[in-house]
């Protein structure tokens, strides 16, 4: 039997098109093509082969990178064609042998990341003047079809053989959990009985019926394949306004330090393994561009863009490589003026690069929302939780604010807190925080452009606890020790329930419902027991289920 709880793989989330192993990104005018050709032997683990364009985390990191770069480096691209480089197969989804040999924690983190990547595709479609065409040149099963339905339109080859399918339930005893069961109902809006049928036919549905049911948008015979892809991608591009090809190249994020001390330019992370705590600090520089043109001139060195990419990298590394860290103490430091200037820029429309950066900040904030760690914002002396950084504090589970006249701490409100970084639930963090008292949101936003002393901030409801200097250390120590002592599972469950008050969206359903069920199934003997379906797949053994319904 394959070993479970493999050691945490050391994964880097930084890559670039020249380093891709599994994808080729080509741009011709306003149409880009992302060709998936997963290398059998180049998986992250050595105990599985990435057959039939199946993917592991490494494949998805490249996809995520490509989507991100298309937004920044190729604003001129209006249609992105995602297609497969294998004969008769588009993509077979997540690699089953990889899942089987992974720990529960890795499975969960892997699925979370792939979900975020699919959402990034939709996010680019919504905000970045791009449309995505899934050109399924062969069968798209499981995660392969889930990738397709994250795109705007789906074209399937009509060779009387290629199908789209969700084999997870009938074959693997798990769910199409990368948004599959959510998008099929909420995005493509198929009838639920048809969804039920589709999700239980391992070999899927092909051709005309797939079209009739709305699983795909178009069919093309092999001989007309290229023409049809060209025609559709052209049409999709023409539906959007043109943009100049003045992209900004995303320079690599550099990290120095050691296993427990990560130093980026604007972000540091110090891990204390004994207390299962990480101190994550982000710092705004003294000087910054004052207008959009100046920001554009700094390109990917623009501090807020770089700082957020660094924060994102740190969060992803904490998730995947530091399962032992339970609590993140988040501090924001640096120039209040820089934040105020930058926020004013970020809030204004009119410059694609600035807008793109705003969207990246929003996505990075969501990474905090979706991380299975406890977050405390620590507003002690020298911190400057202002605007975008205040959003970071609001993303935390608690805010500890030092309230002592002898050690003044200021908190700043800017336009950035007024809704330019909506959460997955579609509303701002302030609105989510004050769901029952909307007037409290107004009260905070009335202070926009101001810095508030700790007393005022506390009165406005921005602090969870606001102890004075005498109590501060002990309060904080107790809160940390207590938190670190709780069941990590209960904490993850509790936090992900409490963080997303208010409206449901497809995104909240994916993380709150689909992922939760998937993660439950991932723990059940029917999936991962010795004779569970996931465990038996590809082995000589048949699964043996406990047929009791729970």
């Amino acid at each position: 039997m394959a070993a479970t709880a493999a050691p945490a793989p050391i994964t880097s989330f930084q890559t670039s098109p020249t380093e891709y192993k599994h994808w080729t990104l080509t741009v011709e005018g306003d149409i880009a093509t992302l060709l998936m050709h997963v290398q059998l032997e180049e998986g992250q683990g050595d105990n599985y082969e990435l057959k039939l364009n199946s993917y592991d985390l490494g494949v998805d990191i490249e996809l995520n990178d490509a989507i991100q770069r298309l937004r920044f480096e190729h604003p001129e691209v209006r249609t992105v064609v995602i297609t497969g480089g294998l004969d008769r197969v588009f993509c077979a989804g997540a690699n089953i042998m990889m899942l089987r040999s992974s720990s529960h924690a890795f499975k969960v983190n892997f699925c979370k990341y792939t979900n975020e990547t699919r959402l990034a595709i939709e996010d680019a479609s919504e905000h970045s003047n791009k449309r995505f065409l899934a050109a399924l040149n062969g069968t798209a099963s499981g995660g392969g079809y889930e990738l397709a339905i994250a795109c705007d339109e789906i074209l399937l080859v009509d060779d009387r053989n290629s199908a789209v399918s969700y084999p997870e339930v009938p074959l693997l005893g798990v769910l199409p959990g990368t948004g599959g069961l959510t998008r099929i109902t909420d995005k493509r809006k198929l009838r639920r009985d048809r969804c039920d049928v589709f999700s239980t036919i391992a070999e899927g549905i092909k051709g005309k019926r797939a079209l009739e049911w709305g699983l795909i948008d178009a069919l093309a015979p092999l001989s007309q394949w290229e023409d049809k892809v060209t025609e559709m991608s052209r049409r999709m591009a023409d539906e959007l306004p043109e943009r100049a090809a003045d992209g900004v190249s995303l320079e690599k994020i550099e990290r120095s330090g050691d296993d427990d001390n990560w130093n980026y330019e604007y972000v540091t992370c110090e891990i204390d393994a004994s207390s299962r705590t990480a101190e994550l600090t982000i710092t705004a520089p003294e000087a910054c561009p004052k207008d959009a043109d100046a920001a554009r001139a700094e390109a990917s060195s623009w501090w807020i863009l770089r700082a957020m990419r660094e924060l994102d990298d740190a969060l992803l590394n904490l998730r995947i490589n530091r399962l032992d860290v339970s609590l993140v103490l988040l501090r924001a430091k640096g120039s209040v003026e820089t934040l105020q200037t930058t926020d004013a820029l970020l809030a204004a429309d009119g410059n694609w690069f600035v807008e793109e950066t705003r969207h990246l900040v929003r996505r990075t904030l969501k990474r905090v929302d979706n991380s299975a760690k406890s977050f405390y914002a620590v507003a002690d002396q020298g911190t400057s939780f202002t605007g975008t950084f205040l959003e970071l504090a609001l993303a935390c589970d608690r805010i500890y604010l030092l309230n002592d006249p002898d050690f003044p701490v200021e908190v700043g409100v800017t336009t950035a807190n007024g809704g330019i970084f909506p959460m997955a639930n579609g509303i701002s963090r302030l609105e989510t925080r004050f769901l029952g008292t909307p007037e409290a949101v107004t009260a905070v936003l009335e202070k926009s452009g101001e810095t508030l002393d700790a007393d005022t901030a506390d009165e406005l409801g921005l602090a969870t606890y606001a102890p004075d200097e005498l109590d501060w250390e002990d309060e904080l120590r107790l809160a940390i020790e207590e938190r670190a002592s709780f069941s990590p599972d209960a904490l993850t469950g509790m936090e992900s329930n409490l963080r997303f008050a208010g409206p449901e969206t497809m995104e909240t359903k994916i993380f709150g419902r689909l992922s939760a069920w998937q993660n439950w199934i991932f723990q059940r003997p029917n999936a991962v027991g010795e004779r569970g379906a996931l465990q038996c797949y590809g082995t000589p053994n048949s699964p043996e289920f406990n047929y009791d319904r729970t």
Partner: protein, 466 residues
Amino acid sequence: MIDYSQKIPNNVDLSHDKRLQRALEKWQPDYIDWWRSMGPTDFNEKEIYLRTAVSVEKNGWAQFDYVQMPDYRWGIFLQPAEAGRTIGFGDHQGQEAWQEVPGEYRNWLRRLIVTQADTEPASVEQQRLLGHTAPSLYDLRNLFQVNVEEGRHLWAMVYLLHSYFGRDGREEASELLERRSGNADHPRILGTFNEPCEDWLSFFCFAMFTDRDGKFQLLSLAESGFDPLARTCRFMLTEEAHHLFVGQTGVGRVIKRTAELLAEGKDPREEGAIPFEVIQKYIHFWCSSSNDLYGAEVSSNGANFFRSGIKGRAYEDRYEDHQALNDSYEITQVEGGRLTTEEVPLRNAMNEVLRDEFVKDNLKGVEYWNRIVEKAGLEYRFRLPHRRFNRSIGVYANHHFDLDGNIIDAAAFEAKKHEWLPTDEDREYVKSLMQKVTEQGKYAAWISPPPKGVNGQPIDFEYVRL
């Protein structure tokens, strides 16, 4: 109202099976349309001396008479049921064989049946123009016999789809008539069945190697716990044997002709025969292409099919252990450009187990050919390419091997390719020999006559009335 028992010979009580009648009412005319457009079109009006199966009784399965092919009575026959048959292997071993499709395996079974079924019309399509270049009436008749029986095998599979798989089965049955061999838009499912089969040497090689894959697939499905499938395949095997005979003796007669010329000190090319080297290259090509049909060496599907009792091993009764759960199989893999071996669970190696039988069976055919060469007093010996040679599917695909299975680099393969596989010139040469011979008792210059005719008829019998 159609009298089904007359039109469609069967032993499945078709005249009382409303469901099957309904399905066939729609499908049968489509099938005839398909035959008229995709079968040996230009010979549809001719009278052919064909064998028709009209019952499963001893005398019933081989009735000879002149028939126009579209009027051939394609029948539905299952080997008679064996009372109290139990499942012979896998996790359900010892349980009563299934008379209905078990719901949990419905999709797998359907896929197996569709994949098998798809090969039957495919080969008819591949061979549809060969009638124009037949080397004799005897061979022309054999070609058509093979064609109508492939058609009947399609019927047999369609019967299963219609009877046991509901609406999905009916749709799959229709699609079997929509895919086309070598069609750019909707090709046949398996690659080999999209290869053009434009000359008679290819046809004989196809019948020798590709139909032999069919034999072993049928043998393994004949073990199926799904009884109607097992019984259908058992009956099909009797017909498949004839196709293999056509292939093996066909290649043998080509070899014999060349051997005789060589023994007389003549140059085969000057006499319009086919040199041994060219025949050997065709053998390499068709044998390696057919090796692909068994699928990947390590296969989850193979394990699933075995454990679930829907597809066994050929000659399952020769094995002692029908669980195949504790044994392993040593697979040679390619790692970092070198061959290594890996133990995989036996159930996951079922494709390879079946390929072993195929290779063994092929060797017998090669021995038969070499006896012909030997008899002519020649040194030359035919051989099989190693199973790793020229593969497009499985662990050896995307690597290069020589005829003995040694791994070599792409450049070395390219340098030798023209010695190992048919070149354009070879194909042109073979094609240039393909001239129709229709005079009774006459045979083309590149093939020797058979030792005896069909059904006791002489070799100069009028097998086809042109």
